[in-house]
Amino acid sequence: MRIFTTLLFAFLSNLTLVAKTGDVPKAKLVAFQTRVEPVLKRVCFGCHGPEKQKGKLRIDALDPDLLKGKDVSWWLEVFDVISNGEMPPEDSKVQLTDAEKTRIIDWLSGEILFASQVRRSEQGHTSFRRMTRYEYKYALQDLLDLPHDFSRDLPPETVSEDGFKNSSEMLQMTVVQFEQYRELALKALERATVRGDVPQPVYYGISMKAAATRIDAMYAANVEATRKRVKEEGIALEEALEKQGENYSRNHGGAHFKDLITGQGIGTRWSYGGAKYAWTPTSTRPKVPPALPDVVVIPANSKYIVDVGDGLPDVGTMRVRIRAARVTPEGKHPPTLRLFFGNQASNDSRVAVRAGERDITITASPDKPEFYHWDVRLSEIARNAYRHIQKLGQLPNPAEFLYFQNCSSTPVSVQIDYVEITAPVHEQWPPESHTRIFFQSDHQADEKKYAREVLARFMRRAWRRPVTAAEIDQKLVLFAKLRLQCDDFQEAMVEVLATVLSSPKFLYLVQAGGVDDKKESRRISGFELASRLSFFLWSSMPDEQLLNLAAKGKLLDPLVLQAQTRRLLADPKADRFARYFTRQWLGMELLDFLKIDSKVYGRFDPLLMEAMREEPVAFFGEVLKRNRTVMDFLQSDYTMVNDRLARHYGLPEVIGNSLRLVKLKASDRRGGVLTQAGLLAMNSDGKDSHPLKRGIWVLENLLNDPPAPPPPAVPEIDLADPEILKLTLKERMEDHRNDPACISCHSKIDPWGIAFENFDAVGLWRDKIGKDPVDAASVLFNKDELRGMKGLKDYLLANRQDQFARSMVHKMAAYAMGRPLTFGDRSQVDRITADLRKRSDGLADLVFLIVKSDLFQLK
């Protein structure tokens, strides 16, 4: 509906004129009475007037004063249905001429825009809110320079109507949560600060030769003897093997030790009982041997377990290094390893969790193995509670293990010849997290002076603004009080700093000052802008550079702000924006709870689910990074896949576990978010497609046109009725829709969902459901026809670009502001939408437009 955009431009210029005159704003009632009302009367009042009130709407009774009247939301509905061509219905006897349509839209859009501006200062929502759970996690990480996640015990957030977790009206504070914040602050600071000398690490240096010898000394001796014969007797390997006896096969299915010279091998072994396989740590670092021909080979879907006994410390970072190579030098696919950590206390008491966030792709060739490593925080993984209670070898078993799982989705193997474990590792001592708080100072001897210095620096960063002398003094008073009850300076200081972190000045995103009518007094300060920007794009607090620019008053300069926005977007921390916005915008939490029915989809596996969860996020990241058009979300000739997902989609081979861009052909039937497997699966029930869920999702998440909630006492589909059971799903929905109680809502929802029917519950294309061919054709409420997914995409691109652009603006603005948008924001959203359309719909441009808007910069 192009009409909308063109009109928008016209009214925006109008608006500025009105705003400048400074007169008391008035609704254009005369224009309504002379030009609009007669049209409405002729075309609409028949069904929505004194005689009939279809949809409980009486247009003749609506108050045409949008500035002061109470019927704004009804007028918005009128605006939407007329501009989308949904009303009057196609089969109605009375129709609007193009000129009449323009006249209504003309008047309504002007009034809506104007009323929205005027009403902005009366709006009911504010951006003042506490941090979300994930923002709290990142803020502590960034502030303290710690990799830990301290947010895990906090309760999950309630999602707003828009689907956002950072929405001010949902972010409550309870006494339980407050107490958690206090505990977590103390815990985080105790983790960040250290005492005494650098803790002595323990080391494990495990060669696979030793590991193989340990499970079978005969094997090791046999291999040794074979090698010796070849070398000393100068005979061929085959002959030497023959002489030695073929006791050790050269072919193994699962993980196995292998001698690269003789080719002999033996399966790996592990059991939990009796600590038979547990390694003992040393207090000095074992010498790293040169690369050895004795390796463990881990094929895809196999694992190799290293039992570390009960020797690991409770806390600190464990570094796990392996010297590894891919087994086959050629071939496109490098194998990928994932690290797990766990324990088995007794027969049926097992646990293992993924350790280290990233997987490692082994690219080294067999003749040049290389070291790879993971860092694991020992305090954050499932530890064995029997350590130091039970003795090694007793039951329940106090030992722990880690294992390397080859999680490649193609049959490629890894070989490892040496494993080295060090815990805890410290890059420096005291660590950066400590010296950031307790830095070197000439005043360290003078507790009071030093306390002031420490506080001043810490509070400015934590509270993201200059702190007043009074605020520091207040904390110093507390320090003096606590110092008497604490053993030393550091202990007391940590207690005081914990109050800085459980203070509302840390936990809440603050825009200070009251609101009055003058626009300039509603502008947020440079520091507030710095926070708003960093919480928008980094889900965390501003860094030093942003704070310094704010301090110098430079951040309010549009050019500086634009450059900073660019910098934030280029930073790896902007991945959080792609992740959290995408997940919330598309409602992806549903996917986390989805259980795929393994009886129906036997070949579904966790690697596929992982890729399905990542695709929408990576796709958004790609559109953002290249400033591609937001219309790519509706349809694109590329998507982001890894090897597993490419296989699922039937795309040409892709290499490795990380997602990358691949070009799509029309025959691939993919592109945009509508056909992404994760989103299709999420809106299924794990067994079959669910057209209703899919339809509602299109309306709510993509078009921002949520259907009305179902009325109370909706008649259920009677599945006991044999006649109903005979119907296909689509027929069943149509049957349900024909029920007068259901028709008004379902005729708006169902057609959208039916267009998806060629995609099953895991997002695979199908031509048949059971024996019947798929029927994915449907007719929209306004009689537009959708012919399956292609028809749906074509329709959206041809008719709903404005609506979708506006929806994107709305969703992203709500996320950026951390509050639901109201009618008062509508003029701003329209303005940003118009600008976005002018700039070819670039996603990065949308971020810039939001950041520079009054919406973002005013309270």
Binding site: F128, A345, S349, A385, L395, E495
Partner: protein, 467 residues
């Protein structure tokens, strides 16, 4: 009882004593002060876990009549087997259940399931692990404010155990295990002897920190618009509530610990002397309840799988180890041996319940058992089958529990009612061609009777009206 008069009395009393305190504290006060005359309505809950299931011979087995755990008959019309005979004097104070289990783990090996007995969580068989809050802790969050200790968590093996190998029945609101105490001396000291000096210091530190945070909140409030001030109101209220809690905790520090005679207690006893150990653990719960030191207790009699010192319990009746009894049921006399052990367990449970019954409710109405609900059970029936949990509910008449019945739930499970319906160690894997009800339905009914208003718990889909 006239509530208004009651609180007026207390207010007067407090004024007389020269303290002005906010209302929530009153509740805690009634728990310890003898000055309050009116009958108090206490509600208590104790939960017990028996590992490794119970004997369930098939109907055709000669041991069926005497040594199956479940009674014969149903509803009001049932007879105990020799296994439960020891509970006969309490017949009208108890209900036996069958056909209840937690749906999420019905096909997980019984050894892994003690963890979820009180939670109903999907704790799985391996890999990642997540539990949820346990029944007792939901009630403790509600009743704990009245007493010095919100709850008492005990087990024979102590600590938390491991995922799918729990040594505690209790899990906090994040689903993390609460370590169980297993040494009678330590439990006694915690309840009746020790003053926690570190706690006093922490409280003092907290008090100063809270004052400071209140100041932060106030100064922030001054800079906010009136609308935002309302939002911040939640924070201010949270600080005030925490201050109140600390006030309350500090009061407890100054209120003398209840005096309890120790002469009859064997505080150094260990599970190597199982009968005395069990009796001592029960006695500690009894004393904690009687002195109103807590109103919530859990006691896990043993860890699953026979691993740990709790495996000694069967020594009380002359067997070497406990867990093996459950495996050797098919040997001659096997069911009887296992049954004799269960008979002993029931005897001790009965002794504890009878002691509560024989003690008038301190300052209240009826006897202590009338105001205490005892839940006893296991997360597997026989042969590690994680269905048809053997369950007993004893006491709690004043809360409205109906007793003297054997309630059977589920459909198509006739064969799986008083027996497990299987006779092999591999049977636990079998598909379910019958239905049972979620055990959490019973838990939800219990919570309601205990006075906790909640709509669901641990996957419940309703309540059990017969209870």
């Amino acid at each position: 009882m006239n509530i208004n008069f009651f609180s007026l009395d207390r207010r007067k009393f407090l004024r007389g004593a020269g303290v002005a305190l906010a209302l929530p504290w009153f509740e805690s006060f009634t728990g310890v002060a003898r000055a309050v005359q009116r009958p108090v309505k206490r509600k208590r809950l104790a939960c017990f876990y028996l590992p490794d299931g119970v004997p369930m011979p098939l109907e055709k087995d000669p041991a069926f009549k005497d040594w199956g755990w479940f009674p014969h008959g149903k509803d009001k019309d049932f007879t105990f087997t020799k296994c439960m005979e020891t509970l006969k004097p309490l017949r009208n104070e108890l209900t036996v259940f069958s056909g209840l289990s937690h749906p999420a783990v019905r096909r997980v090996h019984g050894h892994s399931n003690a963890d979820q007995f009180l939670t109903g969580a999907d704790t799985g068989a391996d890999g990642d692990y997540q539990n949820s809050i346990s029944l007792d802790q939901v009630f403790a969050a509600h009743a704990g404010e009245h007493t010095r200790h919100a709850s008492l968590v005990m087990s024979t093996d102590g600590g938390t155990g491991s995922p799918r190998g729990a040594q505690t029945m209790s899990y906090n609101s994040n689903g993390r295990p609460i370590p169980a105490e297993h040494k009678p001396k330590r439990i006694f000291d915690r309840l009746f002897v020790k003053r926690n000096l570190n706690a006093a210091r922490r409280l003092a530190l907290s008090k100063s920190a809270l004052d400071d945070l209140m100041e932060d909140a106030r100064s922030l409030k001054r800079s906010l618009s009136s609308r935002d001030q309302e939002t911040l109101g939640e924070y201010l209220q949270s600080v005030r509530d925490t201050e109140m809690k600390i006030e309350k905790a500090k009061r407890w520090l100054n209120i003398p610990l209840p005096r309890v005679g120790v002469d009859h207690l064997k505080l150094d006893v260990t599970p190597e002397d199982p009968r005395n150990y069990l009796q001592t653990m029960y006695e500690l719960i009894y004393l904690a309840f009687k002195t109103d030191t807590t109103r919530v207790a859990t006691y896990q009699l043993g860890r699953e799988n026979g691993v740990g010192i709790s495996d000694y319990l069967a020594r009380a009746v002359g067997y070497k180890a406990t867990h093996n009894l459950s495996h050797e049921t098919k040997k001659p006399g096997g069911f009887k041996n296992f049954g004799i052990y269960c008979r002993f367990i029931n005897e001790e449970l009965g002794r504890f319940a009878s002691r509560l019954k024989a003690t008038p409710e301190p300052g209240g109405e009826g006897n202590m058992l009338d105001n205490t609900a005892l839940l006893f059970g296991s997360a597997s029936s026989a042969f590690h089958l994680s269905r048809n949990y053997p369950l007993l509910l004893v006491g709690g008449r004043n809360m409205g529990f109906k007793h003297g019945q054997y309630l059977k739930y589920g459909q198509g499970n006739k064969k799986h009612q008083s027996t497990s319906g299987i006779s092999t160690d591999a049977g636990w894997r079998a598909e379910m061609d019958y239905t049972e009800l979620p055990l959490s339905n019973l838990y939800l009914s219990m919570l309601h009777k205990l006075g906790v208003e909640t709509e669901c718990f641990g996957g419940s889909i309703g309540t059990l009206s017969e209870v």
